[in-house]
Amino acid sequence: MKKRYKFVVDCANCAAKVEEAVKKIDGVHDATVNFMAQKLVLDADDARFDEILQEVAATARKIEPDSELYL
């Protein structure tokens, strides 16, 4: 399942770092952080999607506490 979320992040490099980290989460097939459009696209396992999404949000907060993921 692939879903798009609004993801407010201030710096381009932080966006790249969040993308990198989210890609490494177990169950995530692919992830893109679009700094210009302020979006996070998550492609992850259907069955555990919500669980993975929570983990994504936590990861984003940890790497860039000033970012905000709108679920």
């Binding site: 381009a12 679009n34 459009a37 790497i63």
Partner: protein, 621 residues
């Protein structure tokens, strides 16, 4: 001028008050520890959040974070007694960040303004005939909406009543308005210019043309270009490397040469230069601008990677019909076999093709109006790549290209002239040939010449048409080579051959109308579909979508892509060059810390300004 956000205003206030405080402290006649304490005040005012974030991010395991690097550099400067410099560097850094934030926000807004085609309200007709304003998203299919002059068409639909001309500029970049009347389809996002229109909604808001276009453009930067991936990967190694170099610089030279303080200070400058943001931001911003600028011209690019590939395209393959030619055929002659009446042959063909909306079928029907209504048509079978077979008034009629004769073991008559031939057989016997011809689009020749001047080495035209017809069009347009008599499969195979033979680092683009060339569109490096306004299939299958059907837009797209790539390269070279220069100068003690800050935020700001040039495409049309 764009207004500052609340966050930006607060930052500006902090910068200004810190600047005033810095000057004040500078003028005070104090020295030693008292001075250090006083300088801490403006430092804290302007930089407290950097310090705070640095500590917080370290706890989260983010070592090479921009905040941390800046904090370390300025605290280091404080420790070596360079109080004023520490404050000034922090001040300069925050100013640069503010500028950067502002510039990014501004380009985001100008792209949003470009894409401001979403209709706000739909005037829905209620049962008692009055109008009710609704959100276009909520309007049901089948509802009747009224579009007044000056309003945007809210949803895709069909005109029930009224005539008007529609301004499609926001969708196609085309300034000539489109006239519509009852029965015509209208597309959301167009602006109604003259008359009142009553339309029946044919598609829900979420699937309307406007929704699709916006979705496509917004998501375009998800598919990242190679240069974009390169720069983020580069940044990942760049920062740690420079930090390690800084550590080495602080320790190794003084071991042999002495002068710990001097080398420590130079190392701090290295830390400032190691911030990666200037590099990382300028590349995606350029692509975003290029995609936004292209959509202003009615060219939708589905990803930064396609924009990048387009600039490297050396071979462009065209489908002939509907792409280079208008795709509206007219019957120019009928040669009936033996004693058959030409009108009758035409009528049979028109009847057999009654159910098809292929352009050729349309021309046959137009030449023999009412033929299908007068006869009994049953058992219609589409013979892919050959034509169609149907039972017309009890006779088995086949209509198609020469393969339809070959498949029935009939000889193919020798034809002269340059028109396209449609053969007709009745009950297995040759009945005649209908000649039809197609007109070349008015800008097709100029488009081919334009492509060549913008760097395309080879233009190829593919068609299912006869050799003679293809040769005539090819000569007229000046394409390098053509292949005639192709089935859809042959087209895929031919494009695959071109792909196999291409030079590494170049790309092969295929241009079609998206109707039955989806396999070729997806097989080629870049599939370009044209005339997509209202055609979902084309929007789905292609990588680049031209909203109108002008071949000249391909050259425009190519110019935009080349300009974007040029700006991307400029930014990469500029950012790396300045950073490299400052690193070298700093190692030899020739660069001050403010120069290092400039190499970070100043360069980022200039790169952003350069990137916004991608949005300006008027001269490229």
């Amino acid at each position: 001028m764009q207004k500052l956000t609340k966050k930006q205003r607060k930052m500006l206030l902090r910068i200004l008050s810190a600047a005033v405080l810095l000057i004040a402290v500078r003028l005070l006649p104090v020295g030693g520890l008292a001075a250090a304490a006083l300088y801490l005040v403006p430092y804290a005012v302007v930089g407290w959040d950097v310090l705070f974030k640095a500590v917080r991010n370290i706890r989260n395991g983010q070592v090479f974070d921009e905040n941390f690097l800046m904090a370390l550099a300025t605290v280091g400067a404080f420790a070596t007694g360079e109080y004023a410099e520490a404050v000034f560097v922090m001040l300069f850094y925050q100013t640069g960040e503010l500028f950067q934030d502002y510039a990014v926000g501004r380009s985001r807004q100008s792209i949003a303004a470009l894409m401001d085609i979403r209709p706000d309200v739909a005037n829905v007709e209620t049962e008692d005939g009055s109008l009710e304003e609704q959100d276009p998203e909520d309007v049901a299919v089948g509802a009747v909406v009224v579009v007044k002059p000056g309003e945007r068409v809210p949803l895709d639909g069909v005109v029930l009543e009224g005539t008007s001309s529609l301004d499609t500029a926001a969708l196609t970049g085309e300034s000539v308005p489109r006239d519509v009347g009852p029965g015509d389809a209208v597309i959301s996002g167009c602006v109604n210019q003259s008359g009142l229109l009553r339309c029946r909604v044919t598609r829900p808001g979420s699937e309307s043309t406007v929704a699709k276009i916006l979705d496509l453009v917004e998501n375009a930067s998800e598919k990242k270009a190679v240069s974009e991936q390169f720069i983020t990967r580069f940044a990942r190694y760049y920062t740690p490397c420079v930090v390690i170099a800084a550590a080495a610089l602080a320790v190794l030279p003084p071991l042999f040469l002495g002068g710990w303080g001097v080398w420590f200070h130079r190392a701090l400058i290295f830390l400032v230069v190691s911030c990666p943001c200037a590099l990382v931001i300028s590349v995606p911003l350029s692509f975003f601008g290029g995609i936004g600028g292209a959509s202003k011209c009615g060219i939708l690019v589905k990803g930064s990677n396609y924009l990048e590939a387009l600039a490297k395209t050396e071979t462009v393959v065209f489908d002939k019909t509907g792409t280079l030619t208008r795709g509206t055929f007219t019957v120019t002659g009928v040669d009936a076999a033996g004693t058959l009446d030409p009108e009758q042959v035409l009528a049979w063909a028109a009847a057999a093709e009654h159910w098809s909306d292929h352009p050729i079928a349309l021309s046959l029907r137009a030449a023999s109006p009412g033929a299908a209504e007068r006869s009994m048509v049953t058992n219609v079978t589409e013979l892919a790549g050959h034509g169609v077979r149907a039972t017309v008034d009890g006779r088995s009629v086949c209509v198609g290209n020469q393969r339809i004769l070959e498949s029935q073991g009939l000889p193919v008559p020798e034809l002269r002239g340059e028109s396209t031939a449609v053969y007709v057989t009745v009950d297995g016997a040759y009945a005649g040939v209908i000649r039809i011809s197609d007109l070349v689009k008015s800008d097709a020749r100029a488009a081919i010449a334009d492509l060549r001047s913008s760097g395309v080495k080879r233009t190829v035209m593919l068609t299912g048409d006869t050799e003679a017809a293809a040769r005539a069009v090819a000569a007229q347009l000046g394409v390098d080579e053509f292949h005639a008599g192709l089935l859809p499969v042959d087209k895929v195979e031919l494009v695959e051959r071109l792909l196999a033979k291409k030079k590494p680092g170049t790309a092969v683009a295929f241009v079609g109308d998206g109707i039955n060339d989806a396999p070729v569109l997806s097989r080629s490096d870049i599939g370009i579909a044209m005339g997509a306004l209202g055609s979902d299939a084309a929007i789905e299958a292609a990588d680049i979508v031209l909203m109108d059907d002008k071949p000249s837009k391909i050259a425009t797209a190519m110019r935009i892509s080349r300009k974007t790539l040029r700006i991307v390269r400029q930014n990469i070279v500029f950012a790396l060059g300045v950073k490299g220069l400052v690193l070298v100068l700093a190692a030899f003690g020739q660069a001050a810390m403010w120069a290092a800050v400039f190499a970070d935020v100043g360069v980022a700001f200039l790169a952003i300004l350069n990137a916004t040039r991608c949005l300006r495409v008027d001269a490229l049309q």
